[in-house]
Protein backbone atom coordinates (compact mmCIF):
# COMPACT_ATOMS: atom_id res chain seq x y z
CA UNK A 1 0.00 0.00 0.00
CA UNK A 2 2.74 2.36 1.00
CA UNK A 3 4.53 1.49 -2.18
CA UNK A 4 1.44 2.18 -4.23
CA UNK A 5 1.13 5.65 -2.86
CA UNK A 6 4.72 6.43 -3.70
CA UNK A 7 4.30 4.95 -7.11
CA UNK A 8 1.38 7.20 -7.79
CA UNK A 9 3.01 10.25 -6.35
CA UNK A 10 6.14 9.99 -8.39
CA UNK A 11 4.17 9.76 -11.59
CA UNK A 12 1.60 12.39 -10.84
CA UNK A 13 2.17 15.93 -12.02
CA UNK A 14 2.65 17.43 -8.62
CA UNK A 15 4.87 14.64 -7.30
CA UNK A 16 5.22 13.55 -3.71
CA UNK A 17 4.22 15.91 -0.94
CA UNK A 18 2.26 18.18 -3.25
CA UNK A 19 5.31 19.38 -5.12
CA UNK A 20 4.37 22.20 -7.43
CA UNK A 21 6.17 22.58 -10.74
CA UNK A 22 4.63 25.97 -11.32
CA UNK A 23 6.15 27.32 -8.10
CA UNK A 24 9.53 26.00 -9.15
CA UNK A 25 9.23 27.46 -12.66
CA UNK A 26 8.21 30.87 -11.34
CA UNK A 27 10.99 30.84 -8.74
CA UNK A 28 13.45 30.21 -11.55
CA UNK A 29 11.91 32.89 -13.75
CA UNK A 30 12.16 35.40 -10.90
CA UNK A 31 15.78 34.51 -10.15
CA UNK A 32 16.71 34.63 -13.81
CA UNK A 33 14.97 37.96 -14.34
CA UNK A 34 16.79 39.49 -11.38
CA UNK A 35 20.04 38.15 -12.71
CA UNK A 36 19.46 39.51 -16.22
CA UNK A 37 18.54 42.96 -14.91
CA UNK A 38 21.86 43.06 -13.05
CA UNK A 39 23.90 41.81 -15.96
CA UNK A 40 25.52 44.75 -17.75
CA UNK A 41 25.94 42.91 -21.05
CA UNK A 42 22.24 42.06 -21.25
CA UNK A 43 21.23 45.67 -20.70
CA UNK A 44 23.83 46.96 -23.17
CA UNK A 45 22.83 44.55 -25.94
CA UNK A 46 19.11 44.86 -25.47
CA UNK A 47 18.77 48.57 -24.82
CA UNK A 48 21.92 50.61 -25.20
CA UNK A 49 23.04 49.47 -28.66
CA UNK A 50 19.66 49.76 -30.35
CA UNK A 51 19.03 53.12 -28.70
CA UNK A 52 22.40 54.46 -29.82
CA UNK A 53 21.67 53.45 -33.40
CA UNK A 54 18.22 54.97 -33.17
CA UNK A 55 19.69 58.15 -31.74
CA UNK A 56 22.26 58.41 -34.51
CA UNK A 57 19.80 57.76 -37.29
CA UNK A 58 17.10 59.72 -35.57
CA UNK A 59 19.25 62.85 -35.60
CA UNK A 60 20.43 62.25 -39.13
CA UNK A 61 16.81 62.87 -39.91
CA UNK A 62 15.77 62.90 -43.57
CA UNK A 63 18.35 60.43 -44.71
CA UNK A 64 21.68 62.17 -44.62
CA UNK A 65 22.95 63.53 -47.90
CA UNK A 66 22.44 67.14 -48.75
CA UNK A 67 23.61 68.78 -51.92
CA UNK A 68 24.21 72.49 -51.97
CA UNK A 69 23.46 73.91 -55.36
CA UNK A 70 24.25 77.53 -56.09
CA UNK A 71 21.77 79.43 -58.24
CA UNK A 72 23.68 81.55 -60.73
CA UNK A 73 22.72 85.23 -60.33
CA UNK A 74 20.36 86.21 -63.07
CA UNK A 75 18.86 82.77 -63.39
CA UNK A 76 15.14 82.30 -63.71
CA UNK A 77 13.89 81.24 -60.27
CA UNK A 78 10.20 80.73 -60.85
CA UNK A 79 10.50 77.66 -62.97
CA UNK A 80 9.37 74.09 -62.33
CA UNK A 81 12.90 72.66 -62.36
CA UNK A 82 13.96 74.62 -59.29
CA UNK A 83 10.75 73.68 -57.55
CA UNK A 84 11.26 70.02 -58.21
CA UNK A 85 14.84 70.15 -57.04
CA UNK A 86 13.76 71.66 -53.76
CA UNK A 87 11.01 69.09 -53.36
CA UNK A 88 13.46 66.19 -53.43
CA UNK A 89 14.43 67.29 -49.93
CA UNK A 90 17.99 66.47 -50.76
CA UNK A 91 18.99 69.61 -52.55
CA UNK A 92 19.46 72.95 -50.89
CA UNK A 93 19.46 75.89 -53.24
CA UNK A 94 21.91 78.63 -52.34
CA UNK A 95 20.88 82.03 -53.62
CA UNK A 96 21.83 85.69 -53.15
CA UNK A 97 25.55 85.48 -53.61
CA UNK A 98 27.72 87.21 -56.18
CA UNK A 99 29.38 85.42 -59.05
CA UNK A 100 32.85 85.73 -57.50
CA UNK A 101 31.68 84.41 -54.15
CA UNK A 102 30.12 81.40 -55.88
CA UNK A 103 33.27 80.77 -57.86
CA UNK A 104 35.26 80.48 -54.61
CA UNK A 105 32.68 78.28 -52.89
CA UNK A 106 32.53 76.02 -55.92
CA UNK A 107 36.30 75.69 -56.03
CA UNK A 108 36.39 74.60 -52.37
CA UNK A 109 33.45 72.31 -52.77
CA UNK A 110 31.34 74.30 -50.29
CA UNK A 111 28.70 74.36 -52.95
CA UNK A 112 28.51 71.19 -54.94
CA UNK A 113 27.30 72.63 -58.23
CA UNK A 114 25.91 75.73 -59.88
CA UNK A 115 22.67 75.84 -61.78
CA UNK A 116 21.43 78.36 -64.28
CA UNK A 117 17.95 78.10 -65.75
CA UNK A 118 16.59 80.17 -68.64
CA UNK A 119 13.44 79.96 -70.64
CA UNK A 120 14.29 79.16 -74.23
CA UNK A 121 13.40 81.77 -76.76
CA UNK A 122 10.15 81.00 -78.61
CA UNK A 123 9.54 77.85 -76.62
CA UNK A 124 7.82 76.64 -73.48
CA UNK A 125 10.92 74.65 -72.62
CA UNK A 126 13.71 75.69 -70.33
CA UNK A 127 17.41 75.36 -70.82
CA UNK A 128 19.36 74.30 -67.79
CA UNK A 129 23.06 74.88 -67.41
CA UNK A 130 24.78 72.98 -64.66
CA UNK A 131 28.38 73.48 -63.57
CA UNK A 132 29.84 70.71 -61.43
CA UNK A 133 33.04 70.91 -59.40
CA UNK A 134 35.81 68.35 -59.10
CA UNK A 135 35.99 69.26 -55.41
CA UNK A 136 32.69 67.45 -54.91
CA UNK A 137 32.43 64.72 -57.53
CA UNK A 138 30.19 62.38 -55.54
CA UNK A 139 27.52 64.89 -54.87
CA UNK A 140 27.81 66.22 -58.40
CA UNK A 141 27.03 62.71 -59.55
CA UNK A 142 23.96 62.52 -57.38
CA UNK A 143 22.75 65.87 -58.66
CA UNK A 144 23.29 64.68 -62.20
CA UNK A 145 21.07 61.68 -61.68
CA UNK A 146 18.44 63.73 -59.88
CA UNK A 147 18.37 66.13 -62.83
CA UNK A 148 18.24 63.27 -65.28
CA UNK A 149 15.27 61.85 -63.48
CA UNK A 150 13.48 65.12 -63.67
CA UNK A 151 14.31 65.73 -67.33
CA UNK A 152 13.49 62.25 -68.45
CA UNK A 153 9.86 62.88 -67.77
CA UNK A 154 9.38 66.54 -67.85
CA UNK A 155 11.70 68.80 -69.83
CA UNK A 156 10.32 67.98 -73.23
CA UNK A 157 6.85 69.04 -72.27
CA UNK A 158 7.15 71.30 -69.28
CA UNK A 159 3.54 71.45 -68.30
CA UNK A 160 2.97 72.79 -64.83
CA UNK A 161 -0.10 70.68 -64.25
CA UNK A 162 1.83 67.56 -65.12
CA UNK A 163 4.54 68.33 -62.66
CA UNK A 164 2.10 68.82 -59.83
CA UNK A 165 0.64 65.44 -60.59
CA UNK A 166 3.94 63.79 -59.91
CA UNK A 167 4.11 64.99 -56.32
CA UNK A 168 2.18 62.51 -54.27
CA UNK A 169 1.15 63.40 -50.77
CA UNK A 170 1.43 60.28 -48.66
CA UNK A 171 2.27 59.36 -45.12
CA UNK A 172 5.81 60.53 -44.60
CA UNK A 173 8.11 57.53 -44.36
CA UNK A 174 10.79 58.74 -42.01
CA UNK A 175 14.19 57.20 -41.42
CA UNK A 176 13.08 56.21 -37.93
CA UNK A 177 10.21 54.19 -39.41
CA UNK A 178 12.75 52.08 -41.21
CA UNK A 179 15.51 52.05 -38.61
CA UNK A 180 13.51 51.36 -35.45
CA UNK A 181 11.94 48.01 -36.43
CA UNK A 182 15.36 46.89 -37.64
CA UNK A 183 16.98 47.87 -34.36
CA UNK A 184 14.19 46.19 -32.46
CA UNK A 185 14.81 42.98 -34.39
CA UNK A 186 18.53 43.26 -33.76
CA UNK A 187 17.92 43.78 -30.05
CA UNK A 188 15.73 40.67 -29.91
CA UNK A 189 18.27 38.67 -31.89
CA UNK A 190 21.23 39.55 -29.69
CA UNK A 191 19.29 39.13 -26.44
CA UNK A 192 17.98 35.77 -27.57
CA UNK A 193 21.23 34.41 -28.93
CA UNK A 194 23.94 35.83 -26.65
CA UNK A 195 21.91 35.87 -23.47
CA UNK A 196 20.60 32.33 -23.74
CA UNK A 197 23.92 30.89 -24.88
CA UNK A 198 25.90 32.53 -22.08
CA UNK A 199 23.44 31.71 -19.33
CA UNK A 200 23.02 28.04 -20.11
CA UNK A 201 26.73 27.50 -20.74
CA UNK A 202 27.69 29.16 -17.48
CA UNK A 203 24.95 27.42 -15.47
CA UNK A 204 26.20 24.14 -16.86
CA UNK A 205 29.89 24.86 -16.28
CA UNK A 206 29.50 26.19 -12.75
CA UNK A 207 27.38 23.13 -11.88
CA UNK A 208 24.41 25.32 -11.02
CA UNK A 209 22.21 23.08 -13.17
CA UNK A 210 23.63 19.99 -11.50
CA UNK A 211 22.71 21.43 -8.12
CA UNK A 212 19.21 22.12 -9.49
CA UNK A 213 18.96 18.49 -10.52
CA UNK A 214 19.47 17.49 -6.90
CA UNK A 215 16.15 19.23 -6.20
CA UNK A 216 12.82 17.87 -7.44
CA UNK A 217 12.67 20.50 -10.21
CA UNK A 218 11.90 19.31 -13.74
CA UNK A 219 14.13 20.07 -16.69
CA UNK A 220 11.24 21.67 -18.48
CA UNK A 221 10.80 24.05 -15.54
CA UNK A 222 14.40 25.17 -15.87
CA UNK A 223 14.05 25.90 -19.59
CA UNK A 224 10.61 27.50 -19.28
CA UNK A 225 11.57 29.58 -16.25
CA UNK A 226 14.63 30.86 -18.03
CA UNK A 227 12.55 31.52 -21.14
CA UNK A 228 9.89 33.48 -19.27
CA UNK A 229 12.54 35.73 -17.75
CA UNK A 230 14.27 36.38 -21.05
CA UNK A 231 11.06 36.98 -22.97
CA UNK A 232 9.88 39.33 -20.23
CA UNK A 233 13.13 41.23 -20.32
CA UNK A 234 13.18 41.42 -24.12
CA UNK A 235 9.59 42.70 -24.22
CA UNK A 236 10.30 45.39 -21.65
CA UNK A 237 13.28 46.38 -23.80
CA UNK A 238 11.14 46.36 -26.95
CA UNK A 239 8.43 48.48 -25.34
CA UNK A 240 11.07 50.93 -24.16
CA UNK A 241 12.58 51.21 -27.64
CA UNK A 242 9.17 51.66 -29.28
CA UNK A 243 8.07 54.34 -26.81
CA UNK A 244 11.33 56.30 -27.01
CA UNK A 245 11.16 56.06 -30.80
CA UNK A 246 7.56 57.21 -30.85
CA UNK A 247 7.77 60.10 -28.43
CA UNK A 248 11.23 61.43 -29.18
CA UNK A 249 11.79 60.59 -32.82
CA UNK A 250 8.30 60.46 -34.22
CA UNK A 251 8.20 56.75 -34.94
CA UNK A 252 4.92 56.05 -36.71
CA UNK A 253 2.42 53.82 -34.88
CA UNK A 254 -0.49 53.80 -37.26
CA UNK A 255 -3.03 52.25 -34.92
CA UNK A 256 -1.50 53.46 -31.68
CA UNK A 257 -1.61 51.02 -28.78
CA UNK A 258 -2.93 48.19 -30.96
CA UNK A 259 0.12 48.54 -33.17
CA UNK A 260 2.35 48.33 -30.09
CA UNK A 261 0.57 45.16 -28.94
CA UNK A 262 0.96 43.62 -32.41
CA UNK A 263 4.64 44.51 -32.40
CA UNK A 264 5.10 42.92 -28.98
CA UNK A 265 3.40 39.74 -30.19
CA UNK A 266 5.84 39.63 -33.11
CA UNK A 267 8.70 40.37 -30.70
CA UNK A 268 7.68 37.39 -28.54
CA UNK A 269 7.69 35.10 -31.54
CA UNK A 270 11.05 36.50 -32.62
CA UNK A 271 12.75 36.12 -29.25
CA UNK A 272 11.51 32.53 -28.91
CA UNK A 273 12.95 31.64 -32.32
CA UNK A 274 16.24 33.42 -31.58
CA UNK A 275 16.57 31.76 -28.16
CA UNK A 276 16.70 28.48 -30.07
CA UNK A 277 20.01 29.63 -31.60
CA UNK A 278 21.20 30.36 -28.06
CA UNK A 279 20.31 26.84 -26.88
CA UNK A 280 22.22 25.36 -29.79
CA UNK A 281 25.28 27.54 -29.16
CA UNK A 282 25.31 26.73 -25.44
CA UNK A 283 25.37 23.07 -26.46
CA UNK A 284 28.21 23.26 -28.95
CA UNK A 285 30.42 25.86 -27.23
CA UNK A 286 33.10 24.24 -25.09
CA UNK A 287 33.88 27.35 -23.08
CA UNK A 288 32.58 30.87 -22.53
CA UNK A 289 35.21 32.31 -24.86
CA UNK A 290 33.68 30.29 -27.68
CA UNK A 291 30.26 31.85 -27.25
CA UNK A 292 30.93 35.28 -28.85
CA UNK A 293 32.50 33.97 -32.08
CA UNK A 294 29.80 31.36 -32.64
CA UNK A 295 27.07 33.81 -31.72
CA UNK A 296 28.49 36.36 -34.13
CA UNK A 297 28.32 33.81 -36.93
CA UNK A 298 24.59 33.71 -36.27
CA UNK A 299 23.91 37.36 -35.53
CA UNK A 300 26.27 39.34 -37.81
CA UNK A 301 24.98 38.10 -41.18
CA UNK A 302 21.44 38.78 -40.03
CA UNK A 303 22.46 42.14 -38.65
CA UNK A 304 23.90 43.14 -42.03
CA UNK A 305 21.69 41.27 -44.49
CA UNK A 306 18.25 41.23 -42.93
CA UNK A 307 17.32 44.79 -43.71
CA UNK A 308 18.33 46.19 -40.35
CA UNK A 309 20.00 49.27 -41.83
CA UNK A 310 19.29 49.07 -45.54
CA UNK A 311 16.40 47.72 -47.45
CA UNK A 312 17.36 44.32 -48.84
CA UNK A 313 16.24 45.55 -52.28
CA UNK A 314 19.43 47.63 -52.21
CA UNK A 315 21.58 44.49 -52.22
CA UNK A 316 22.95 42.96 -55.42
CA UNK A 317 20.79 40.26 -56.92
CA UNK A 318 22.97 37.34 -55.86
CA UNK A 319 22.83 38.44 -52.23
CA UNK A 320 19.09 38.85 -51.99
CA UNK A 321 18.22 35.14 -51.83
CA UNK A 322 20.52 34.86 -48.80
CA UNK A 323 18.77 37.80 -47.18
CA UNK A 324 15.42 36.23 -47.91
CA UNK A 325 16.47 33.03 -46.18
CA UNK A 326 17.19 34.66 -42.80
CA UNK A 327 14.58 34.76 -40.02
CA UNK A 328 15.38 38.33 -38.96
CA UNK A 329 14.44 39.51 -42.48
CA UNK A 330 10.90 38.31 -41.90
CA UNK A 331 10.67 39.69 -38.39
CA UNK A 332 11.86 43.10 -39.61
CA UNK A 333 9.53 42.95 -42.55
CA UNK A 334 6.53 42.05 -40.40
CA UNK A 335 7.41 44.73 -37.83
CA UNK A 336 7.60 47.45 -40.52
CA UNK A 337 4.35 46.37 -42.11
CA UNK A 338 2.57 46.33 -38.77
CA UNK A 339 4.02 49.61 -37.53
CA UNK A 340 4.04 51.74 -40.66
CA UNK A 341 1.37 50.26 -42.87
CA UNK A 342 -0.88 49.46 -39.96
CA UNK A 343 -1.42 45.87 -40.99
CA UNK A 344 -2.79 43.31 -38.57
CA UNK A 345 -1.04 40.12 -37.56
CA UNK A 346 -3.14 38.11 -40.01
CA UNK A 347 -1.84 40.29 -42.86
CA UNK A 348 1.74 39.31 -42.05
CA UNK A 349 0.91 35.60 -41.72
CA UNK A 350 3.44 34.75 -44.40
CA UNK A 351 6.28 36.31 -42.40
CA UNK A 352 4.97 34.68 -39.22
CA UNK A 353 4.83 31.32 -40.96
CA UNK A 354 8.46 31.59 -42.11
CA UNK A 355 9.48 32.48 -38.54
CA UNK A 356 7.55 29.48 -37.23
CA UNK A 357 9.28 27.21 -39.75
CA UNK A 358 12.63 28.57 -38.58
CA UNK A 359 11.54 27.98 -35.00
CA UNK A 360 10.65 24.35 -35.67
CA UNK A 361 13.95 23.76 -37.46
CA UNK A 362 16.06 25.48 -34.80
CA UNK A 363 14.43 23.71 -31.88
CA UNK A 364 14.71 20.37 -33.65
CA UNK A 365 18.48 20.94 -33.75
CA UNK A 366 18.55 22.40 -30.22
CA UNK A 367 16.94 19.29 -28.76
CA UNK A 368 19.72 17.23 -30.33
CA UNK A 369 22.74 19.34 -29.34
CA UNK A 370 21.66 20.89 -26.05
CA UNK A 371 23.71 19.63 -23.09
CA UNK A 372 22.62 19.56 -19.48
CA UNK A 373 26.01 18.57 -18.02
Amino acid sequence: MQKDIHEKNSNSFSGAGGYNNLTATLALAKASFRSIMRSPSAVVFTLAFPLIFILVFGFLGGGGTHIDVGVTPGSDVNNPVMGMLEKTGMIRLVKDKSKTEFAKLLEKGNVDAMIDVHRKVNSAAYSVNVVYTSASRDKGGILKSVLNNIFYDKTLKPNVAEIKESTITGREYKTIDFILPGQLGFSLLSTGVFGTAFVFLSLRQTLVIKRFFATPVRRSSIVIGEGIARIGFALIGALFIILIGHFFFGFTLVNGALTVVNMLVLATLGIIVFMGFGFIISGIAKSESMVPPISNIVTLPQFLLSGTFFSIEAFPGWLQPISRALPLTYLNDAMRKVAFEGLGLWDVKFQIMILLLWGIGIYAVAVKVFKWE
Binding site: E7, G18, Y19, A31, T206, R211, T215
Partner: protein, 254 residues
Protein backbone atom coordinates in the same frame (compact mmCIF):
# COMPACT_ATOMS: atom_id res chain seq x y z
CA UNK B 1 24.71 -1.39 16.43
CA UNK B 2 22.25 -4.04 15.22
CA UNK B 3 19.39 -2.05 16.64
CA UNK B 4 20.09 0.90 14.33
CA UNK B 5 17.93 1.31 11.29
CA UNK B 6 19.54 1.68 7.87
CA UNK B 7 18.34 4.80 6.01
CA UNK B 8 20.54 4.15 2.98
CA UNK B 9 21.40 0.69 1.77
CA UNK B 10 23.62 -0.01 -1.18
CA UNK B 11 24.12 -3.44 -2.68
CA UNK B 12 26.70 -4.40 -5.32
CA UNK B 13 26.86 -0.92 -6.83
CA UNK B 14 28.78 -0.86 -10.11
CA UNK B 15 29.53 2.17 -12.29
CA UNK B 16 31.41 1.83 -15.55
CA UNK B 17 32.51 4.65 -17.85
CA UNK B 18 33.23 2.91 -21.14
CA UNK B 19 36.16 0.67 -20.16
CA UNK B 20 36.92 2.32 -16.85
CA UNK B 21 35.26 0.84 -13.78
CA UNK B 22 34.81 3.66 -11.26
CA UNK B 23 32.76 1.76 -8.72
CA UNK B 24 33.36 -1.93 -8.38
CA UNK B 25 30.63 -3.71 -6.43
CA UNK B 26 30.15 -1.42 -3.45
CA UNK B 27 27.87 -2.50 -0.62
CA UNK B 28 27.24 -0.60 2.62
CA UNK B 29 24.54 0.84 4.82
CA UNK B 30 24.18 4.24 6.39
CA UNK B 31 22.25 4.33 9.66
CA UNK B 32 19.68 6.88 10.63
CA UNK B 33 20.99 9.91 12.44
CA UNK B 34 24.70 9.21 12.12
CA UNK B 35 27.55 11.05 10.46
CA UNK B 36 28.87 8.60 7.92
CA UNK B 37 32.25 9.26 6.32
CA UNK B 38 33.37 8.05 2.91
CA UNK B 39 37.15 8.17 2.94
CA UNK B 40 39.68 7.38 0.27
CA UNK B 41 42.18 8.85 -2.16
CA UNK B 42 41.18 10.97 -5.17
CA UNK B 43 39.60 8.89 -7.91
CA UNK B 44 38.61 6.10 -5.53
CA UNK B 45 34.96 6.53 -6.52
CA UNK B 46 33.63 8.50 -3.54
CA UNK B 47 32.05 11.34 -5.49
CA UNK B 48 30.67 8.97 -8.13
CA UNK B 49 29.05 6.87 -5.40
CA UNK B 50 27.54 9.95 -3.74
CA UNK B 51 26.19 11.28 -7.01
CA UNK B 52 24.53 7.96 -7.80
CA UNK B 53 22.83 7.96 -4.40
CA UNK B 54 21.83 11.59 -4.96
CA UNK B 55 20.12 10.51 -8.25
CA UNK B 56 22.45 12.77 -10.24
CA UNK B 57 24.20 9.97 -12.06
CA UNK B 58 22.96 6.67 -13.52
CA UNK B 59 24.46 3.47 -12.17
CA UNK B 60 25.53 0.51 -14.26
CA UNK B 61 24.11 -2.09 -11.87
CA UNK B 62 23.32 -2.69 -8.23
CA UNK B 63 20.56 -1.68 -5.89
CA UNK B 64 20.19 1.51 -3.87
CA UNK B 65 17.40 2.19 -1.41
CA UNK B 66 17.17 5.60 0.27
CA UNK B 67 14.60 5.79 3.07
CA UNK B 68 12.53 3.11 1.40
CA UNK B 69 12.75 4.61 -2.09
CA UNK B 70 14.66 2.96 -4.90
CA UNK B 71 16.84 5.25 -7.04
CA UNK B 72 15.49 3.48 -10.11
CA UNK B 73 11.80 3.85 -9.45
CA UNK B 74 11.43 6.89 -7.23
CA UNK B 75 14.25 9.35 -7.83
CA UNK B 76 11.81 12.26 -7.36
CA UNK B 77 10.87 11.03 -3.88
CA UNK B 78 14.51 10.73 -2.97
CA UNK B 79 15.24 14.29 -4.14
CA UNK B 80 12.52 15.52 -1.80
CA UNK B 81 14.14 14.08 1.32
CA UNK B 82 17.81 14.72 0.67
CA UNK B 83 19.99 17.82 0.71
CA UNK B 84 23.02 17.93 -1.53
CA UNK B 85 26.20 19.95 -1.38
CA UNK B 86 28.32 19.41 -4.47
CA UNK B 87 32.05 19.71 -4.67
CA UNK B 88 32.89 23.07 -6.30
CA UNK B 89 29.34 23.91 -7.35
CA UNK B 90 28.48 27.53 -8.05
CA UNK B 91 25.22 29.39 -7.58
CA UNK B 92 22.99 31.38 -9.87
CA UNK B 93 24.93 34.51 -10.91
CA UNK B 94 24.12 38.06 -9.76
CA UNK B 95 21.86 37.03 -6.88
CA UNK B 96 22.42 37.69 -3.18
CA UNK B 97 22.15 35.02 -0.50
CA UNK B 98 18.54 35.78 0.40
CA UNK B 99 17.51 35.59 -3.25
CA UNK B 100 19.38 32.34 -3.72
CA UNK B 101 17.62 30.81 -0.72
CA UNK B 102 14.29 32.01 -2.13
CA UNK B 103 15.14 30.35 -5.43
CA UNK B 104 15.92 27.03 -3.74
CA UNK B 105 12.80 27.30 -1.61
CA UNK B 106 10.85 27.56 -4.89
CA UNK B 107 12.72 24.62 -6.40
CA UNK B 108 11.97 22.46 -3.36
CA UNK B 109 8.48 23.82 -2.91
CA UNK B 110 9.47 24.58 0.69
CA UNK B 111 7.81 27.32 2.68
CA UNK B 112 10.65 28.79 4.71
CA UNK B 113 11.92 32.16 5.85
CA UNK B 114 15.20 32.81 4.03
CA UNK B 115 16.64 34.81 6.92
CA UNK B 116 16.07 31.94 9.34
CA UNK B 117 17.98 29.62 7.04
CA UNK B 118 20.90 32.04 7.00
CA UNK B 119 20.76 32.36 10.78
CA UNK B 120 21.11 28.59 11.06
CA UNK B 121 24.54 28.83 9.46
CA UNK B 122 25.36 32.21 11.02
CA UNK B 123 25.31 34.16 7.76
CA UNK B 124 22.55 36.65 8.59
CA UNK B 125 25.04 39.53 8.26
CA UNK B 126 25.78 38.48 4.70
CA UNK B 127 22.15 38.35 3.54
CA UNK B 128 22.68 40.97 0.85
CA UNK B 129 26.10 39.72 -0.25
CA UNK B 130 26.73 37.79 -3.43
CA UNK B 131 27.94 34.21 -3.12
CA UNK B 132 31.16 35.07 -4.95
CA UNK B 133 32.02 37.69 -2.34
CA UNK B 134 32.01 35.16 0.53
CA UNK B 135 35.09 33.62 2.12
CA UNK B 136 35.77 29.91 1.71
CA UNK B 137 34.21 28.99 5.04
CA UNK B 138 31.18 31.20 4.43
CA UNK B 139 30.68 29.64 1.02
CA UNK B 140 30.62 26.16 2.56
CA UNK B 141 28.23 27.23 5.29
CA UNK B 142 25.96 28.79 2.68
CA UNK B 143 26.07 25.58 0.65
CA UNK B 144 25.05 23.68 3.76
CA UNK B 145 22.20 26.13 4.34
CA UNK B 146 20.87 25.33 0.85
CA UNK B 147 20.91 21.63 1.73
CA UNK B 148 18.65 22.25 4.73
CA UNK B 149 15.86 24.16 2.95
CA UNK B 150 13.61 21.14 2.37
CA UNK B 151 14.17 19.84 5.93
CA UNK B 152 15.83 16.75 4.54
CA UNK B 153 16.29 13.43 6.31
CA UNK B 154 19.76 13.03 4.84
CA UNK B 155 22.32 15.55 3.69
CA UNK B 156 25.34 14.77 1.52
CA UNK B 157 28.46 16.88 1.91
CA UNK B 158 31.24 16.35 -0.61
CA UNK B 159 34.56 17.56 0.84
CA UNK B 160 33.01 20.53 2.65
CA UNK B 161 36.20 21.45 4.52
CA UNK B 162 38.72 21.25 1.70
CA UNK B 163 40.70 24.48 1.53
CA UNK B 164 39.46 25.93 4.82
CA UNK B 165 41.69 27.24 7.60
CA UNK B 166 41.68 25.37 10.94
CA UNK B 167 39.20 27.74 12.59
CA UNK B 168 36.73 27.61 9.72
CA UNK B 169 37.10 23.85 9.64
CA UNK B 170 36.31 23.45 13.33
CA UNK B 171 33.42 25.85 12.98
CA UNK B 172 32.03 23.67 10.21
CA UNK B 173 32.45 20.52 12.32
CA UNK B 174 30.32 22.15 15.01
CA UNK B 175 27.67 23.02 12.44
CA UNK B 176 27.62 19.48 11.01
CA UNK B 177 27.40 17.99 14.51
CA UNK B 178 24.48 20.31 15.31
CA UNK B 179 22.69 19.19 12.16
CA UNK B 180 23.18 15.54 13.14
CA UNK B 181 21.96 16.26 16.68
CA UNK B 182 18.85 17.86 15.21
CA UNK B 183 18.00 14.46 13.70
CA UNK B 184 19.48 14.60 10.21
CA UNK B 185 21.67 11.86 8.81
CA UNK B 186 24.92 13.20 7.33
CA UNK B 187 27.01 11.53 4.65
CA UNK B 188 30.34 13.25 4.18
CA UNK B 189 33.51 12.73 2.15
CA UNK B 190 36.85 14.07 3.28
CA UNK B 191 40.60 13.69 2.82
CA UNK B 192 41.36 14.64 6.42
CA UNK B 193 41.62 11.70 8.77
CA UNK B 194 41.64 13.86 11.90
CA UNK B 195 38.35 15.30 10.70
CA UNK B 196 36.85 11.86 10.09
CA UNK B 197 38.09 10.68 13.47
CA UNK B 198 36.53 13.60 15.33
CA UNK B 199 33.36 14.03 13.30
CA UNK B 200 32.21 10.68 11.94
CA UNK B 201 30.27 8.03 13.82
CA UNK B 202 31.31 5.48 11.24
CA UNK B 203 33.63 5.59 8.26
CA UNK B 204 34.08 3.50 5.13
CA UNK B 205 37.40 3.38 3.31
CA UNK B 206 36.98 3.29 -0.45
CA UNK B 207 39.80 2.19 -2.69
CA UNK B 208 39.55 1.50 -6.44
CA UNK B 209 35.78 1.49 -6.29
CA UNK B 210 35.59 -1.01 -3.44
CA UNK B 211 35.07 -0.76 0.29
CA UNK B 212 38.14 -2.07 2.05
CA UNK B 213 37.12 -1.27 5.63
CA UNK B 214 33.97 -0.02 7.41
CA UNK B 215 33.62 0.60 11.15
CA UNK B 216 33.71 3.28 13.80
CA UNK B 217 36.96 5.27 13.81
CA UNK B 218 37.75 3.86 17.28
CA UNK B 219 37.34 0.24 16.24
CA UNK B 220 39.42 0.74 13.12
CA UNK B 221 42.24 2.30 15.15
CA UNK B 222 42.03 -0.42 17.79
CA UNK B 223 42.19 -3.12 15.15
CA UNK B 224 45.32 -1.62 13.70
CA UNK B 225 46.93 -1.23 17.11
CA UNK B 226 46.03 -4.82 18.05
CA UNK B 227 47.67 -6.05 14.88
CA UNK B 228 50.92 -4.75 16.31
CA UNK B 229 51.13 -1.39 14.55
CA UNK B 230 53.18 1.29 16.26
CA UNK B 231 53.73 4.89 15.31
CA UNK B 232 57.32 5.72 14.64
CA UNK B 233 57.15 8.75 16.82
CA UNK B 234 55.70 8.84 20.31
CA UNK B 235 52.40 10.71 20.21
CA UNK B 236 52.35 13.88 22.23
CA UNK B 237 49.35 15.14 24.08
CA UNK B 238 48.85 17.91 21.53
CA UNK B 239 49.58 18.34 17.85
CA UNK B 240 50.61 21.31 15.74
CA UNK B 241 47.01 22.20 14.94
CA UNK B 242 46.30 22.49 18.65
CA UNK B 243 49.24 24.88 18.84
CA UNK B 244 47.87 26.88 15.91
CA UNK B 245 44.40 27.14 17.42
CA UNK B 246 45.87 27.95 20.79
CA UNK B 247 48.01 30.75 19.36
CA UNK B 248 45.53 32.26 16.90
CA UNK B 249 42.40 31.79 18.96
CA UNK B 250 39.26 29.72 18.68
CA UNK B 251 36.98 32.29 17.28
CA UNK B 252 36.57 32.29 13.62
CA UNK B 253 37.52 35.23 11.46
CA UNK B 254 35.98 35.87 8.09
Amino acid sequence: METKKAIISIKDLVKKYDDFVAVHGLSFEVFENEIFGLLGPNGAGKTTTLEIIETLRAKTSGEIIVDGFSVDQHPQNIKQIIGVQLQAAGYYPNLNLIELIELFAGLYGANIKPMEMLEKVNLQDKAKAKYKALSGGQKQRFSIATTLINQPKIIFLDEPTTGLDPQARRNLWDLITEIRDAGTTVVITTHYMDEAEQLCDRVAFVERGQIIALDTPDNLIDKLVNSGFERKKEVKKANLEDVFINLTGQEWRE
